[in-house]
């Protein structure tokens, strides 16, 4: 790794000169860093859109009774909040990280297919527009839930067609992005950068990309069958015509469970870069982390029906899916153990990226535990479609994936922008997010245990107090994210100049071999890794 700084001199001339300017720099970009930046801003924009929908949901649920929105609009909000956050915010955020970091971390000049990379990104805005335009179709948005179950989805209004098309486009974008990532990692590593020397973030994305290639076509198939059921006289999911609505659930969750790991595994990768850097120790059990990640990915294909215990299945199938699901705790436990062992006897400091990683570690583990609770069939039969499930997956998606994304953004922002963020404000952002997140979602466990169903705009009086608390937390959490936007903009416009390696424990190529900010073109001559 010490062939190092010689390469940085090559880049000076690239920093100016032939870099295109104006809007066309972005529209026609084939540069992995520019495309990564666009992915990240797109995902933040969608995070705000999905966040506003969450605020509408929590405003309506602040008190029992119907005060603010109509029930069908409420259903539309829960649907598009889920779709936009999963497909528009979290997935593109991690693809943004992949674009920015994978070429730099493996010593490649760019992604393998730069033009396809451009198309992968530019498919996202039309898909987002379709999801938003769906709100304005006759009858309003499709209140079918993000899972788009039949028969609701086959009976919904024209908004459903826009939603289906949006899912198709997002799937195409994801598949192209994945092909790009797989090819880049397998073919463009610098000399000496063997697979087992790659930073763990690259490994997690390699595995995630395979998951995406495997399951996005399954989702596309499910929504295409929904489309043909709606318009072309097929009866895949229509019992009256000999079809089966439960078939949809099986197909959807064969995509849906790996999808959970598509979101979580890159988050593991980010945290696996941040925790060693602030522990000033190498990652404990690097190889076992790689294998545990691969194991989780394989197991994720074998557990899908734990999402549908109540849909009707033989007791043998319930037992199989219960056992298989519980066993995912083993490789996940290996990962949590390794992160803790990395910190053990390390020289820890607690800058904002580390704080978010620790928040991830605590709260993702809690979300994993509630997942284990839900994997137990007789328990799930009680808790299915209650707020316990809502609390569980928000611990995984928000405190897991989103906190990890925040950790990554604070960690790499100096490398991306050349400037440091304000550490005090960053810490404020962390503590406000951590506290308001728990105020919002911890109480929802108890609402679920007490029997409050999800996806309803009104509820029985005994749930009033905890819903009020949850709504207050949600508004606090939402407002805290405006602080994040302010921190990022302030960093870009007037942050202090960052050194090449602001984190002394960071050891991957983008820190050791490249100046700050990372030049527009890097590693035109591959570094030699020893």
């Amino acid at each position: 790794m010490d062939a190092a700084h010689a390469h940085t001199h090559d880049h000076g001339h690239d920093d100016h000169g032939h870099k295109p300017s104006g809007i066309m720099r972005w529209v026609k970009s084939t540069n992995h860093k520019d495309i990564g930046t666009m992915y990240l801003w797109f995902s933040f924009t969608m995070f705000m859109v999905g966040g506003v929908m969450a605020m509408i949901i929590r405003a309506e649920l602040f008190q029992p009774g119907l005060q603010i929105v109509r029930p069908d609009f409420f259903n539309s909000m829960t649907t598009y909040h889920g779709l936009i956050m999963v497909f528009g915010a979290i997935m593109p955020a991690f693809v943004g990280f992949a674009n920015w970091l994978i070429p730099m971390q493996i010593g490649a000049p760019d992604m393998a297919f730069p033009r396809m990379n451009n198309l992968s990104f530019w498919l996202l805005p039309p898909a987002a527009m379709l999801l938003i335009a769906a709100q304005f179709m006759p009858g309003g948005g499709a209140g079918v839930g993000w899972t788009m179950y039949a028969p609701l989805s086959t009976q919904a209004g024209p908004a459903m067609d826009l939603t289906i098309f949006a899912v198709h486009i997002l799937g195409i974008s994801s598949i192209m992005g994945s092909i790009n990532i797989i090819t880049t990692i397998l073919n463009m590593r610098a000399p000496g950068m063997s697979l087992m020397k790659m930073p763990l973030f690259c490994w997690t994305w390699l595995i995630t990309a395979y998951l995406l290639v495997a399951v996005m076509p399954v989702l596309a198939g499910a929504v295409t069958m929904t489309l043909t059921d709606r318009h072309f006289g097929t009866h895949f999911f229509n019992a009256a015509g000999g079809g089966d609505p439960v078939l949809y659930q099986h197909i959807f969750w064969f995509f849906g469970h790996p999808e959970v790991y598509i979101i979580a595994i890159p988050a593991f990768g980010v945290v696996s870069q941040v925790i060693p850097a602030f522990s000033r120790k190498p990652l404990f059990g690097y190889a076992s982390m790689v294998y545990a990640t691969a194991s989780i990915a394989i197991l994720s294909f074998m557990v899908w029906a734990h999402h549908m215990y109540t849909a009707g299945m033989p007791v043998e199938a319930q037992l199989y899916f219960m056992y298989a699901t519980a066993l995912i705790a083993v490789p996940t436990g290996v990962k949590v153990f390794n992160w803790v062992a990395t910190m053990w006897k390390g020289s820890l400091t607690f800058e904002t990226p580390m704080l978010f990683s620790l928040g991830f570690l605590f709260l993702f583990t809690l979300g994993g535990f509630t997942g284990l609770v839900l994997s137990i069939t007789p328990v799930d039969v009680q808790l299915h479609d209650t707020y316990y499930v809502v609390a569980h997956f928000h611990y995984v998606m928000v405190a897991g994936a989103l906190f990890s994304a925040f950790a990554g953004i604070y960690f790499w922002l100096p490398k991306w922008t050349g400037r440091m963020y304000n550490e005090t404000l960053g810490k404020w952002h962390f503590w406000l997010s951590l506290i308001f997140f728990n105020v919002t979602f911890f109480v929802q466990h108890f609402l679920g245990l007490a029997g409050m169903p999800r996806r309803i705009p009104d509820y029985a009086l005994q749930f009033a107090e905890f819903n009020a608390i949850s709504s207050i937390g949600a508004f606090g959490f939402g407002l805290s994210q405006l602080l994040f936007l302010y921190i990022v903009i302030k960093c870009i416009t007037s942050g202090d100049k960052a050194p090449d390696k602001p984190w002394e424990g960071a050891d991957s190529l983008e820190w050791t071999h490249l100046p700050t900010p990372a030049p527009w073109h890097s590693f035109e001559t591959p570094p030699v890794i020893k």
């Binding site: 194991s295 007791v315 037992l319 490789p331 990962k335």
Partner: protein, 69 residues
């Protein structure tokens, strides 16, 4: 039996060695001794992954059959 081989490419591993190493990998824990001694090709990993997945499902189905009989 491997002690004689130093400073050379690891010898071709036996099937048992590959399976043993990849079993630990599948479990999520690495045994250092196993890894440093043998080299595994990507094809072996993929084949093992598919077989191990099938064995995993098969084992659980067997357990299910036993407990529901």
């Amino acid at each position: 039996m491997m002690d004689a081989v130093v400073n050379e490419k690891p010898p071709k591993a036996t099937l048992l060695q590959v399976v043993r190493m990849l079993f630990w990998a599948f479990f999520g824990v690495r045994k250092r001794v196993e890894h440093d001694k043998i080299e595994v090709t990507p094809v072996q990993v993929v084949i093992f992954g598919i077989v191990a997945g099938a064995v995993f499902v098969g084992t659980l189905v067997t357990v299910v059959i036993l407990v529901t009989r």
